[in-house]
């Protein structure tokens, strides 16, 4: 079977125009390599550390999933407290955990960003905070309604309940994260979801709200990742790895070529910066299926940044990093060293802008990059050569070079960091 496939691939394209093709071993051999990797990785997984294990729970803040009724009673307790304050003529104020970057801490043992314990007081009677305080009160009352009615709404819905007050969805979204922190629950527990963004395709079967979904039979586009992770369960898979793709274009290429049939895998993308649902979904897959996660991102600072958001969490939502981060993601490509290794032609590389270089240098200062010497080396190379390239740069060798040569070769050589 593998031979047959190989012959077909050969007849499709000329090996001269697709460099390194001759280095490829047969699919069966590659599969064998992959299987050995997968089995060793799944056996080595242990129970993840928590803040309590490191005796950091006093100085760091973390939220947890709360049931609807406990969210409701937390809100009610808070509102009663506010009412007491108002009736005593003192106005009212919220104590909001600070989400500024100075209040973030990267914990190497956990390999993720957590929130420290600094808080700011948000009083109503101050000109600089009156707006945010009012919006916070409004969001609290809206979430309270959601709890009573037991329904889910999107962030956009929430914004449209009072456009005049919120002015801009960015503001209501930011306060929503504040409310999560105040109540000490995850954002999903507030019954507020974001619109679907991520998609998944490949060797995965799971139940969505009771319906069984087979991701190999979802057509070319794959299955949209459900915004509400509570609905997802019963994950089964015979995949050997999870392939995380930054860009939609590369995802479509792999999905159409049915890459997951040649090498059993699950392909996921969030089309750029990952949303909460995709991150939760990836985490769940990793935890339940115990598969290695390989990332295919652009060779630029933003590619690595996206990778780090999956791996260590974003600063904006560090309060929930325990649920949102997927440990041990490997950087498969496109890495700065690949540009020369795979002889990507000059015309497909782009010069980095001043901003790019600055972002790259800033990344070098980040702890989550420093902990991985391989990444530091690659990033140094990028900043030094001042060149970047997108995944699509590989299309210069033919549109299917990515799925037929580059990825198989990478897998065969176990070339990930």
């Amino acid at each position: 079977m593998a031979d047959k496939k190989r012959r077909r691939a050969d007849s499709d394209s000329d090996s001269a125009s697709q460099p390194f093709k001759n280095l490829l071993k047969s699919d069966a051999q590659i599969l064998k390599i992959l299987k050995s990797v997968t089995s060793s990785s799944s056996s080595s997984t242990s129970k993840p550390l928590t803040l309590a294990d490191l005796a950091l729970s006093a100085t760091c803040r973390e939220v947890s999933d709360l049931s609807l009724s406990s969210v409701q009673s937390t809100i009610e307790a808070l509102v009663l407290q506010l009412t007491h304050q108002i009736l005593s003529g003192q106005g009212f104020s919220f104590t909001v955990p600070s989400r500024s970057s100075s209040n973030q801490l990267y914990v190497p043992e956990l390999d993720r960003i957590v929130l420290k314990d600094k808080s700011t007081v948000r009083p109503f009677s101050h000109i600089s905070s009156v707006r945010k305080t009012t919006i916070t009160a409004k969001i609290l009352s809206l979430v309270h309604q959601l709890c009573l009615k037991n329904i889910h709404v999107t962030k956009r819905d929430l914004f449209y309940t009072d456009v005049k007050l919120f002015q801009d969805q960015v503001q209501s979204d930011a306060v929503l994260d504040d409310v999560s922190c105040i109540l000490g629950c995850t954002r999903s527990s507030l019954n507020v979801i974001a619109a679907e963004k991520g998609v998944v395709v490949g060797r995965l079967i799971f139940s969505d709200n009771g319906d069984m979904i087979d991701c190999t039979k979802m057509g070319m586009g794959g299955k949209a990742i459900p915004p509400n992770i509570d609905r997802v369960g019963d994950m089964q898979s015979d995949a050997l790895f999870i392939l995380l793709v930054e860009k939609d274009a590369a995802y479509i290429r792999l999905a159409e070529d049915r890459f997951y049939n040649r090498f059993p895998c699950i392909i996921v993308t969030a089309k750029g910066q990952p949303d909460v649902a995709t991150r939760l979904f990836l985490k769940k897959m990793k935890m339940e299926l115990k598969l290695p996660v390989l990332a295919l991102v652009d060779s630029d600072p933003y590619g690595l940044k996206i990778l780090s958001v999956y791996g260590c969490g974003s600063k904006n939502m560090s309060y929930d990093s325990a649920n949102l981060t997927t440990p041990d993601i490997k950087w498969l490509g496109i890495r700065p060293s690949d540009l020369d290794k795979y002889k990507i032609p000059e015309q497909c590389r782009l010069p980095m802008t001043e901003q790019d270089i600055k972002t790259g240098k800033d990344l070098l200062e980040e702890d989550f990059v420093k902990k991985n010497p391989g990444w530091v080396e690659e990033l140094n190379l990028m900043v030094k050569t001042k060149q970047k390239a997108e995944i699509q740069a590989l299309s210069s060798f033919g549109f299917q070079y990515l799925s037929e040569v580059y990825l198989p070769l990478k897998l065969q050589q176990q070339d990930w960091l």
């Binding site: 009673s73 809100i75 009610e76 509102v79 009663l80 506010l82 009412t83 007491h84 108002i86 009736l87 003529g89 003192q90 106005g91 009212f92 109503f124 009677s125 000109i127 009156v130 707006r131 305080t133 009012t134 009160a137 409004k138 609290l140 009352s141 309270h144 309604q145 009573l148 009072d162 007050l165």
Partner: protein, 669 residues
Amino acid sequence: MESESPTETKKGKSKTPKKEKESILKQKSPAEFFAENKNIAGFDNPGKCLYTTVRELVENALDSAEAISELPVIEITIEEIVKSKFNSMIGLVDRERVDEELYDDYETAKAREKRLEKEARAQEIQAKNAALGKKVKEHAVSKSSKGRGEASFYRVTCRDNGRGMPHDDIPNMFGRVLSGTKYGLKQTRGKFGLGAKMALIWSKMSTGLPIEISSSMRGQNYLSFCRLDIDIHRNIPHIHLHEKRDNKDKWHGAEIQVVIEGNWTTYRSKILHYMRQMAVITPYAQFLFKFVSDAPDKNVTIKFARRTDVMPPVPVETKHHPSSVDILLIKRLIAETSKQNLMQFLQHEFVNIGKPLAERLIGEMGPEFSPKMAVKSLTDQQIVRIHQLFRQAKFDDPSGDCLSPAGEYNLRLGIIKELHPDMVATYSGSAQVFEGHPFIVEAGVSVGGKDVKQGLNIFRFANRIPLLFEQGGDVVTRTALKRISWNNYKINQTQDKIGVFVSIVSTKIPFKGTGKEYIGDDISEIASAVKSAIQQCCIQLKSKIVKKMQAREQQERKRNLSKYIPDASNAVYNVLQEMAKSHASKKKRYEEGDADILQKVSDHLITKETLYEKLTQHVEKVDYEMALEYATQTGVREEPREDIYLQSLDGKGNFFDFHSPIFVFRLFL
């Protein structure tokens, strides 16, 4: 020749015409050169010529008045002369056109048809618009394109109260290009001895009329009158009339009158801008600008009144800084010096070389040099050696004492007077050095004002003259646009009316290009001095702006806080109401204090209005407390006072004095 090989033919051919044409070696007088390349001096087209003429005359007048420390009073008049009047002036009879088709503006039958058609259409549209009740602007009478024959002529007169000129020097001062009194190393407006002469050359080229000069010096009992033009080929004055007249009212100064071709319509705004900016940088001068024509509605009269009698000191002539001289200049200095030996020459002809340094320098030059050697006997090689040493040795920077900046006071006054801004800050930098020439950068930044457009309005001055052209490449424009982050100073670059004034004075302004129009952006010393001067102004403004914003915040605090009371009380009350419901239906149990509140909510004892009132009371209390705190912190502040300038009255009129115990009120009749 044709039978010869091609290479030789080429050679031969190229040689023959060369020999024929270039065998006569021609020489050009400086006047001829500038007549042919008048754009170098800013005489590009008739409009610009009019502008430059005005500019040169005004600047000469200012220099002249300042030279004798007299507060300048300058009158400049531009009189339009129509063609018929011009012709009668020069004694040319107006002739009717006989052969109409000969002229460039002759309208052929076809063109006429086209024009009539177009006019008819325009009228139709106008009638339609009028019928619809639309407001139409008066349709301008279609201007016939100005042919070259339709030139307009102007008589430009400039009268000042300056030093005047010695009777015998007048012809040479106007009739000889590149002769002047301002060649020394000194901060002056003019530099090359070109301005007034270029105006004369232009008048000779365009109208053929001579220039007329009246002048008298202080204490002189006669008035010199001179009518002259210039012999361009020989670069010498050609005197028509040169006589002494009575000086009845003891006037001193100069009045220069020249008739030139120009274009008032297109350069009107430039000329007025120039006068306005000149008034900004020289608030101690009084300008009267008049434009006179046959059409009274086009006439302009603007008086820029004097606002101060504090004048910057007269710039003093200084000696050269050793690092700024070249070989030619050293040779000239040697030729001109009165000192005998090398030691004295170094000490006296340069700044910043004292006796010990001169000794060390001579020691360093080599064994063939000695302090006592005659300076005039230096060989060419030895001079090169001196030049090289000057380049490499370290000297103290020249001081800025020889410069005469406008001064913060004058700059500030000028800005306030002409722009009436809401806020203004000025800064005067210390002297810095570029290639051995000291320079001082002064800056002013204003916010708001009348007749100021939104965004950045940039005013540039070099040696106290406004620069109007080539704004895009100038160091000031670029710095203000690109290198100042206005946001940091709470200034909105696009919304606020910002005035940026930068005045640079130096013994040598490094102008870019041929005209004295702009200073390049490539001199890092000047660029950084400009940047820091503007920043210093912005820092001063920032504290003012922040205070203003705080004051505004004080006033609007209550309103801004109260605005949110309904939303906040609604949000809290909605949750309370839901809780009260479940409390009433005994779904949930609450602690005593809380249960009490929920009960009151159910009984309508606590309503939305209760919360609203409580919050309103709280806001009022907070507002009162904050206002009190603000008042105690800031105290009673007074705006800085500014001196007002009262113009002195001339003449001793009749007056009455009304006496009171504390003051005298004087009424002039």
